[in-house]
Subunit: 550 residues, 2 copies
């Protein structure tokens, strides 16, 4: 079997200007980065009278079996183009840290990839680096403000702003900075997060334009004063310099699928402590040029999709016309209790028992007013009996289902899926809750409707956080629940479709720049580490060509 | 008076492909970054039979008066083009940290600038970010190796590799990482440097191609084992991944001067703990296309120029045909004891007494086998009597001198300077010392010949370092002396042309990747801080346009 990187490198890429023309993006709106990548100049994007329909691709609860959500998304996009639609795909940028850490692509796979994959997986057009710069410039401005007299009365023990780096480095999880005496700053216990977890990533992800970006940056809470008042980046006058650093990063990046369909890859916020989708700007830009905009959200319907409807669509003020839930037969068997190493054996009993997970995702998605389509991403180990079981289940359950064979066939493997999706479009979608009712109401609605929890329990810290949130008029921001992706509950071991559990809210973090309240329900890793055999060990560049990337 | 940024923004830039054609760079060798910047693909650079002549622009000892070395360099380049030469300029990339810290351009000034200046001064084509990534990926690989069992027996107390960020942040000068318990790494006392001070910056600066870059990375010493043996990046197998991260950064960046002359801006190593010039690749690339290649080296002849001849020319195996020493009348008066606020008053006595500094730089440069030309960069406060004094001094001292008025007039203000430079070219240049004789011999030669020191004194630490250097066969590497730029001695207060002093070598740092031994003769700041009023406060982006950059 060919590797993803060798398939991608064997492909003959079209000039990015030709790709852009396919959906009517003028040369003058393009800022080239090499011959196969470009930024689309935000100030030159046309306004369409008939913006494209948005189709959200989400998945079942992730398992070690792998669902191939991005691969289906990209194959489906190429299938839409093959059916004669002006199609575009909008997806997230990969993070460099994991690229050096874990083998495995973040740009699709097989014949359903976005290219040039080496660039996309390494520095791409520098957006993450710009975010790292902006994030750490703000950190330097905060510490410098304290060092130079602390006119704002910032309590150095209560700085909430953290530095970031796009690297997997466990040694940066807990650090002390500012050591070395009075000329070297104030000793501070702090952390580095990975760049994808920076609130600036979330800000870029939700900004509608440069002015909105600047306003959101000004609203970033960076800590508290000795008098318990929040301190913002705006109080430090940092929004101008940070926006200047993000001036290019705000323009979405245009590349191509292996099928030659235009793809916007832009932004990459975490799907637990942030909302986990590509930028709002990329999605709405694609709408101006394409009839059909395919896009994705991290993890399953309980995390990425819920946040897509409740945070991103809300801020972007757009509707979702269709939703695809990607599953695999292997992953349903895993949810039915089969061990990872046994997933290639036929097991109808396990499939039957694990499919409750998919059922729950289907029910969830319907709550946002859309008609979900189940995409079964085929693997060579799937048996005819298992496939037939899935088809019959869909009939009985009353949901549209189509198989996809995108890794091997690209867009050709998703034609039937595309047709099924087009048959199940709706005019409008809706968020799940009314954010005017406050943080607890939002959390309880999600917990009840999406997680099937019986109750929500707040820790003492979370209750204290709620007071701070109420006091500072952050009470009506939408919530972004940080929960394990492996279960509908906050217990990663509870697979399938658990009911009647308790959701434990441990902390509530105001993300006043991004514009949501993060509800932590478990330990969140915001700085990954490297494994025993990091992917970096196998990466090389030989005769100017990257090898071993995946 | 117009600001540099408003002059630059009012300028009508030519497409970078047209600029490239001016010296015969084919479109197919260009990798565009927008319409006015491009990387020149190293694999597609032509080999000229008659490589261009290299003219090095250096300066007197820097003073707070400012000498305008880059401004003269850029104006002189435009003047060469006006005289009908195929001219190119090669210079360093600005560092983002200082751009946010100190007002003041790093891309020339007035009508002698390189453009687009906002891009050049912010992220440019991402080279510094790639270096930051490579540097910190290596740091993560080192710590991860220890965490995962430490097969190489690395002593965590003796890791010499430091993390870096392109930010002015004093709080990162002394940090402790790896806190939080056994799953979060090994507690380690360490530092962050600014990216320009990373050894990877020096490596990129001296590499001749991608293979050489990879070999130099493999040679980076990152620490020592418990048995006192050096550990390299090659021992960790990191050279492949790091080279992949630097694959694009190694290609030099093409932009234009305000006069429309092609400029390569590439690399930016510190001029004290590194060699302080643009990359060897940029200089030799320019030679393949231009007849005349103008380039620069940091600080005065004692630092940048010495390292240009003794390190860069040695590794690049090229000759320097001419050298320009930039001075100002104000700076000579400052060397003659005039306070900064009185520099605009005529003072012939001070000028006469301060000019010994210039004399010493002229004598120094001659020791490398070239014929220096003095460029007097004119300021409006210079009086006719002062200018006449300079001319007469040059006649008496027997050195060629020409005035330049480049800030106001661009290339037109440097025609006479260009002609004088062309009249003073030589066929070959030579390094000052034979590196086969070892580290002390090299240091003593530079101290005696360039600094006019009577003796060199080694600290106990430096003597210990010498033993390590001898033991590990690093003894014949060239030396890179880190000394204050304000004086020929290691005492920053000793202006003019001090004699008979003692050079104090405090530490010797092997830079086995870059390929030199750093001799520290004083405290070196490798991570700047921000001031009371950081430049960031004034930077903004309004209607997509950067303001307040300078």
């Amino acid at each position: 079997m060919l590797s993803d990187v060798s398939i991608a490198q064997a492909h003959n890429l079209e000039p990015i200007t030709d790709i852009a023309k396919r959906v009517g993006i003028d040369d003058e709106a393009l800022i080239p980065y090499g011959h196969h990548m470009a930024k689309v100049d935000l100030s030159k994007i046309r306004k369409s009278d008939t913006p494209g329909k948005i189709i959200l691709v989400t998945g079942v609860s992730p398992t070690p079996a792998g669902e191939g959500k991005s691969t289906v998304l990209i194959g489906l996009t190429d299938a839409m183009a093959k059916l004669g639609h002006k199609a575009m795909v909008a997806l997230r940028e990969p993070s460099l840290g994991p690229v050096m850490g874990i083998k495995g692509g973040a740009a699709g796979g097989g014949y359903s990839q976005v290219v040039p994959m080496e660039n996309i997986n390494l520095h791409f057009t520098g957006d993450f680096h710009a975010i790292t710069s902006a994030n750490n410039t703000l950190a330097a401005l905060i510490d410098n403000h304290i060092q130079q007299g602390n006119a704002l009365n910032i309590d150095p023990r209560r700085i909430t702003w953290q530095r970031c780096l796009d690297v997997n480095d466990r040694s940066l999880r807990h650090v002390v900075t500012g050591l070395g005496g009075p000329k070297q700053g104030v000793p501070t216990e702090t952390r580095f997060t990975i760049t994808a977890a920076s609130e600036i990533m979330a800000v870029l992800g939700l900004a509608t334009d440069l002015e909105d970006l600047k306003a959101r940056i000004a609203n970033l809470t960076v800590g508290f004063t000795y008098d318990d008042e929040p301190v913002t980046a705006g109080d430090l006058g940092a929004q101008g310099a940070l926006s200047a650093l993000l001036k290019d990063a705000i323009n979405p990046n245009l590349v191509q699928t292996l099928g030659g369909t235009p793809a916007l890859i832009h932004g990459g916020p975490f799907a637990n402590i942030a909302h986990g989708c590509n930028t709002l700007i990329a999605t709405t830009t694609a709408q101006q040029y394409a009839d059909i905009v395919l896009t994705e959200a991290g993890f399953g319907s309980d995390l990425g999709a819920e946040k897509f409807f409740d945070i991103k669509s809300r801020y972007g003020n757009f509707d979702v016309a269709g939703t695809v839930i990607v599953t695999t037969i292997r992953s349903m068997k895993y949810n039915g209790g089969v061990a990872r190493e046994d997933l290639t054996n036929e097991n109808l009993e396990a499939l039957k028992s694990g499919i409750v997970n998919l059922e729950r995702h289907v029910e969830n998605i319907r709550k946002f007013g859309v008609k979900p389509v189940v995409a079964v991403n085929l693997f060579t180990s799937d048996t005819e009996a298992e496939r037939e079981f899935m088809r019959q289940w869909a009939d009985q359950f009353g949901v549209a289902l189509a198989e996809a064979n995108v890794w091997a066939e690209g867009g050709d493997g998703a034609i039937q899926l595309a047709e099924t999706v087009l048959d199940n479009l709706v005019e409008s979608s809706a968020p799940l809750y009314d954010n005017d009712k406050g943080v607890e109401a939002a959390i309880e609605t999600i917990a009840r409707e999406i997680y099937h929890a019986d109750r929500v329990e707040y820790s003492n810290q979370a209750r204290k956080d709620l007071e701070t949130i109420k006091k500072n008029s952050w009470y009506t921001l939408p919530v972004c629940i940080s929960k394990t992706q492996y279960s509908f509950s906050d217990d990663p071991k509870a697979l399938g479709a658990p009911e009647g559990h308790t959701l434990h809210v441990r902390e509530l973090l105001p993300r006043t720049g991004a514009g949501f309240i993060v509800a932590l329900t478990g330990a969140v890793m915001t700085m990954p580490g490297l494994g025993k055999k990091p992917a970096a060990d196998g990466i090389d560049v030989i005769d100017g060509k990257i090898t071993g990337l995946f």
